[in-house]
C-alpha cells in the first residue's frame, strides 16, 4: 500500500492569485501541484493568515475541479507580518507540534515555492529539524513552448546521507578532521582510532564538557588543543584556547587565577584581574588534573559551567563567560567522589563524554608513526633534518615496543627521547651510537623512577605490629621497596620482570613472577594483599 501524499504549503498571495478565466493561463504553483499527471495529492494543508479568504475560496474551488481526489484543508496561522521571522517560525512550530503526523500512512512534502522568503526559511528549518517529518518540495513553471502544462516538481530530501556525492564529501571532511585531531599521525591502534573518531563527532556536534582520562604524558593536553583547533577551523569557536594544570593552582591564588578578582579584593589586589575563565570566553578551557581543584573552586566552576556566570573574588557582581570545558585527570574521579574529595555534581557534569587515553606502552603499534611525527616536528623546529639509519631505527623500535620500556612518562618520554637523539645525530643521521646511548639513558631514567617509592608501604598495617617486630630492619627496607614496585605495576608478571630484570638479561629465561610470589609468601603476603 503506497502512502498518501500530504502537502504543507503557504498560500501564494502573488503566485497563486489571478482573477477571471485568465488565471488558468497562469502558472499557479499550488494548483499546478494537483494537475500533475503522475502525482496524486491526497491532501493539502494550506497555510494562510486569514486575510486572503477570496483567494483561498478560489483555490479550493479550482483544485476541487482539476483534482477532485485532493482535499484542501485551510490552516490559519497567527501571522501578522509574513516577513517577521520570529512570528512565522513560532506559528509553524506551534502548528507542527500540534499536528498528528502519521508517517506510517502518509508522506509529507513541504512546498517552498509559495510564501515569503522568511516562510521558506522557516519551512526549511521545520524539515531540517524534523519537526515536520518530510521532504521539501519545489515547483517550477512550464517552459514557454508548453504553456497550459502544470510545470515540473522536484523533491529535496535533506537527509544528506541519501546523496552519494555529498556522502563522499562528508567522508573526506571526516577524514580530514580525524587527521587534524591526530596531527596527521597515522596511528594504528584500533582502540585509539575508534576513540578519536568518536571525539571528532562529539567535538563538532556538542558543546558539552569532555573528560579526558589517562596517565601523565598520554596526550590529554595535546588532544584538547586539537579539539580546539578543529572547532576553530569549523568556526564553532571564536575565542582562545586556555590551558591550566589545576595542580599548580592550589592554595590562596587558585580562585583568583580561575575566576579573577576585583580591585582591592585582598591585600595585593591592586588592580582587577580577569581570570582564566573569562580569558576563555567563547573559547575552550582545558583544566588538566581537575581532581586537584579545591572543593570551593569546584563549586564555583560548576556554577560557571552551568550558568555561564560566576562571581569574581571579592566582587559582588556576576560576570559572564561562555566557554567550552575539557577536563583532564590521571586520577579515577569516581574514587575521589567516594572519598569526598571531588564534588559529585561537578563529576556528573563533566562525565558526559569521557575518554580514556591509553598510555604509550598500550599503544606499541603507534610508536613508529609518532616517531616519524616527532622527527618531522624536530626538523621543523631545529631547521635541520634528522633521520634514523635503518638498523638503528629497527633497534630502537624493538626496544620501544618491548616490555623493557614501560614508557612511564608516555609521549612526554618519547618526545624527549627523540629530541635527544635528533640533537645528538651526526650529519643528520641517528645511528647505532645514538640509539645505544638513548636506550641506556631511558633504562636509567625508568629505573630511578621505579626505585622511588610513590608512597612508603605501611608494613605495620600490612603485617601487624607483632609480625613486623620479628623482621630485621634490613629485610623491612627491601620488602617495603618491593611492595612499592608491585603497586606501580599492573600485575605480578610485570612487577617480577622489573624486579629481576638484571638476572633476566643474564639468563635465557626466568620465571620472574614465581620468584616474586615466593619472596612475598615468605612474609605471608601475596599479590592481592600487597596491592589491595
Amino acid at each position: 500500500m503506497t502512502k498518501r501524499t500530504v502537502i504543507f504549503g503557504f498560500i501564494g498571495t502573488q503566485l497563486d492569485s489571478g482573477g477571471g478565466g485568465r488565471r488558468w493561463e497562469k502558472w499557479r504553483p499550488t494548483v499546478a501541484l494537483t494537475q500533475q499527471a503522475d502525482l496524486l495529492v491526497h491532501r493539502i494543508e494550506l497555510f494562510h493568515s486569514g486575510r486572503h479568504t477570496h483567494l483561498l475560496d478560489q483555490l479550493r474551488a479550482d483544485i476541487g475541479k482539476v483534482s477532485p481526489e485532493t482535499q484542501v484543508r485551510p490552516v490559519e496561522l497567527a501571522i501578522e507580518d509574513p516577513w517577521d521571522f520570529g512570528q512565522v517560525y513560532a506559528a509553524l512550530h506551534d502548528h507542527a507540534r500540534g499536528y498528528a503526523f502519521r508517517p506510517e500512512e502518509e508522506e509529507y512534502w513541504v512546498h517552498i515555492t509559495t510564501g515569503t522568503h522568511v516562510a521558506q526559511i522557516c519551512l526549511f528549518l521545520m524539515v531540517e529539524a524534523r519537526y515536520i517529518p518530510g521532504v521539501l518540495l519545489q515547483t517550477a513553471p512550464p517552459k514557454k513552448q508548453q504553456e497550459n502544462q502544470p510545470g515540473t516538481y522536484a523533491l529535496i530530501d535533506l537527509d544528506l546521507s541519501r546523496y552519494d556525492i555529498i556522502a563522499r564529501r562528508f567522508a573526506r571532511e571526516h577524514a580530514d578532521a580525524v587527521s587534524l585531531l591526530k596531527s596527521g599521525i597515522a596511528t594504528r591502534n584500533a582502540r585509539f582510532n575508534k576513540m578519536i573518531g568518536e571525539i571528532e563527532q562529539v567535538a563538532l556536534k556538542s558543546r558539552a564538557p569532555m573528560l579526558l582520562m589517562g596517565p601523565t604524558g598520554a596526550g590529554k593536553s595535546f588532544l584538547a588543543r586539537r579539539v580546539f583547533d578543529l572547532k576553530k577551523v569549523r568556526h564553532q569557536l571564536a575565542g582562545n584556547f586556555v590551558e591550566v594544570n589545576c595542580a599548580t593552582l592550589r592554595g590562596e591564588g587558585a580562585g583568583s587565577a580561575l575566576f579573577g578578582h576585583v580591585k582591592g579584593a585582598f591585600t595585593g589586589a591592586a588592580s582587577e584581574r580577569a581570570g582564566l575563565l573569562r580569558s576563555a570566553d567563547k573559547g575552550l578551557l582545558f583544566l588538566d588534573e581537575i581532581g586537584e581543584l579545591g572543593l570551593d573552586e569546584q563549586a564555583m566552576l560548576l556554577k560557571a559551567v552551568e550558568e555561564k556566570r560566576f562571581l569574581p573574588m571579592g566582587g559582588d557582581r556576576e560576570v559572564g563567560s561562555d566557554f567550552q570545558l575539557i577536563a583532564g585527570t590521571n586520577r579515577d574521579l569516581r574514587v575521589e567522589v567516594a572519598r569526598g574529595r571531588f564534588r559529585e555534581d561537578l563529576y556528573a557534569r563533566v562525565n558526559l563524554w569521557t575518554y580514556e587515553l591509553p598510555g604509550l606502552a598500550q599503544r606499541a603499534e603507534d610508536i613508529a608513526p609518532n616517531i616519524d611525527y616527532l622527527l618531522a616536528r624536530h626538523s621543523e623546529e631545529a631547521g635541520a633534518q634528522a633521520r634514523f639509519n635503518t638498523e638503528a631505527r629497527e633497534r630502537y623500535l624493538r626496544f620501544a615496543a618491548s616490555a623493557e620500556a614501560p614508557w612511564r612518562g608516555n609521549f612526554r618520554d618519547l618526545s624527549a627521547s627523540i629530541t635527544r637523539m635528533a640533537t645528538l645525530a651526526e650529519g643528520g643521521r641517528i645511528g647505532d651510537a645514538q640509539v645505544t646511548g638513548e636506550i641506556e639513558r631511558l633504562r636509567a631514567q625508568w629505573a630511578i623512577e621505579a626505585g622511588e617509592p610513590r608512597a612508603p608501604a605501611d608494613l605495620e598495617a600490612l603485617l601487624g605490629a607483632p609480625a613486623l617486630e620479628q623482621i630485621d630492619l634490613f629485610d623491612q627496607m627491601q620488602l617495603a621497596n618491593v611492595i612499592s614496585v608491585c603497586r606501580a605495576e599492573r600485575n605480578l608478571s610485570q612487577a617480577g620482570r622489573r624486579l629481576f630484570a638484571a638476572s633476566r638479561r643474564a639468563k635465557e629465561s626466568a620465571n620472574d613472577a614465581d620468584r616474586l610470589r615466593k619472596y612475598l609468601s615468605r612474609f605471608g603476603l601475596d599479590w592481592k594483599a600487597v596491592t589491595a
Binding site: G20, Q35, A37, D38, L39, L40, K65, E147
Partner: protein
C-alpha cells in the same frame, strides 16, 4: 489469465481501457505489463487510474498494482452491477474516456443505470462529448442500445469542471451493424464553443471555416457558454449524411490564432470528405468493440490507424471475434468482424 503487453502499438492508455471494458463484459481477468514502457514517465498516470477505479466500481472487481507509476496491473472483474454511479474525473482525465470504459459493461447489466460524470468534456486526445452524442450513440442505437448523454456543463482543459449525465438502458444483445456507405450529404455545419473567451475568437474561427468549406451563414453558430465553464474553446464541424454523422474538432489554445485552429479542423474534415469512406478514423476505433459484442458486422473506413489495429488485437484476446481489414482500391478499408467457429 489473459496476459497483455502494455507497450504494444502506441502503448498508451487505450489498451488498458479496452482491456478493462472487455474484462467486464466477458468476466475474464487480465494482467497487463510494461504499461507505457519507453515513455518519459512510464507506468500508470492519474487518468488511467481513474478508469481502473471506475471499472472496479461498476463490477466490484479487484485490482492489483493500481498505483501511480505502476507498470503492471492485474484486474479481476466481478459481475456488472447496474446502478447510479458518479465519477469525479480531474482535468488530467476526461469524462468521455471513463464513459467509454464502463459503457459496454453497463449495456449488459440487467437494469438501467445512470452516470454522473464530472471533469473535462472537451479535451484534446479524447472524444468530445458532442462527438459521442451526435456520431457514436446514434449508431449504437441502430444496434439496439439506448444511451443518452446530457451535457450539463462543458469542461475544458485545464480548468475542467464539466458535467455529463448519462442514462444507459440495458441491451441484452447488440445487433450487427453494416455501414458501407455514408449516403447523401444532409447538412454540413460548424459551431464554436467559447467559455470565458471573447466571442470574437469564435467568429474568426467560423469565418475561416466558412471560407474554406463554403458554408452558408446559417450553418455557423457561436455558442457562448457561461463564463464559469471556461476558459475554453472548441471548434466542432459536423457533417450529417444519410447513414451517419461524423464530427471533427479542434481546440483553441493560448498563442494559437483562431485561423490556425480553424485550419486544423478544416483539414480533418476535408480528409474525411475526400476519402469517401463512411466512417472516420476515430469513429472506426469506437465501433470495433460494439461490433465484436454483436458478433458480426462491417463498415468501410479510411486506412486503419495503429490505434485501431491494436484495439482489434486486444478484442480478439477476450472475445471469439477476429477483425478482417480489407483494403479497397480507393484507399478505403472494409473492417469486418467475424466470429471464430
Amino acid at each position: 489469465m489473459i496476459e497483455l503487453d502494455g507497450s504494444l502499438g502506441e502503448g498508451g492508455g487505450q489498451i488498458l481501457r479496452s482491456a478493462l471494458s472487455l474484462a467486464m463484459v466477458t468476466g475474464k481477468p487480465f494482467r497487463i505489463s510494461r504499461i507505457r514502457a519507453g515513455r518519459p514517465r512510464p507506468g500508470l498516470l492519474r487518468q488511467h487510474l481513474t478508469a481502473v477505479q471506475a471499472a472496479a466500481a461498476v463490477c466490484g472487481g479487484t485490482v492489483q498494482g493500481a498505483e501511480l507509476g505502476s507498470v503492471a496491473l492485474e484486474f479481476t472483474p466481478g459481475p456488472v452491477r447496474a446502478g447510479d454511479y458518479s465519477f469525479a474525473v480531474g482535468s488530467a482525465g476526461s469524462c468521455t474516456l471513463v464513459l467509454q470504459t464502463v459503457l459496454p459493461a453497463l449495456l449488459q447489466a440487467s437494469a438501467p443505470s445512470t452516470l454522473e460524470l464530472s471533469g473535462g468534456t472537451h479535451n484534446p486526445f479524447a472524444p468530445p462529448a458532442h462527438f459521442l452524442q451526435r456520431s457514436f450513440l446514434p449508431l449504437l442505437a441502430r444496434m439496439g442500445a439506448q444511451v443518452d448523454i446530457e451535457i450539463v456543463r462543458c469542461g475544458f482543459y485545464p480548468a475542467g469542471g464539466g458535467a455529463l449525465r448519462v442514462r444507459v438502458s440495458p441491451c441484452a444483445a447488440l445487433a450487427p451493424l453494416e455501414l458501407m456507405q455514408r449516403g447523401a450529404l444532409v447538412r454540413l455545419h460548424a459551431e464554436s464553443l467559447v467559455a470565458g473567451v471573447p466571442a470574437q475568437v469564435a467568429r474568426r474561427e467560423l469565418a475561416a471555416v466558412q471560407a474554406a468549406l463554403g458554408l452558408a451563414d446559417e450553418a455557423l453558430a457561436v455558442r457562448e457558454l457561461p463564463q464559469n465553464q471556461g476558459p475554453g474553446n472548441a471548434l466542432l464541424i459536423t457533417c450529417e449524411h444519410e447513414h451517419l454523422s461524423e464530427m471533427v474538432s479542434a481546440f483553441g489554445e493560448r498563442g494559437v490564432s483562431a485561423e490556425k485552429v480553424a485550419a486544423q479542423a478544416v483539414r480533418k474534415m476535408q480528409a474525411y470528405m475526400q476519402s469517401g469512406a463512411a466512417v472516420g478514423e476515430h469513429l472506426a476505433d469506437q465501433l470495433l468493440l460494439p461490433l465484436a459484442l454483436a458478433g458480426s458486422g462491417s463498415f468501410a473506413t479510411t486506412a486503419p490507424s495503429q490505434h485501431t489495429l491494436t484495439n482489434a488485437e486486444v478484442i480478439a484476446r477476450f472475445l471469439p471475434v477476429d477483425f478482417r481489414f480489407e483494403a479497397l482500391p480507393a484507399g478505403a478499408t472494409v473492417v469486418r468482424a467475424l466470429t471464430r467457429p
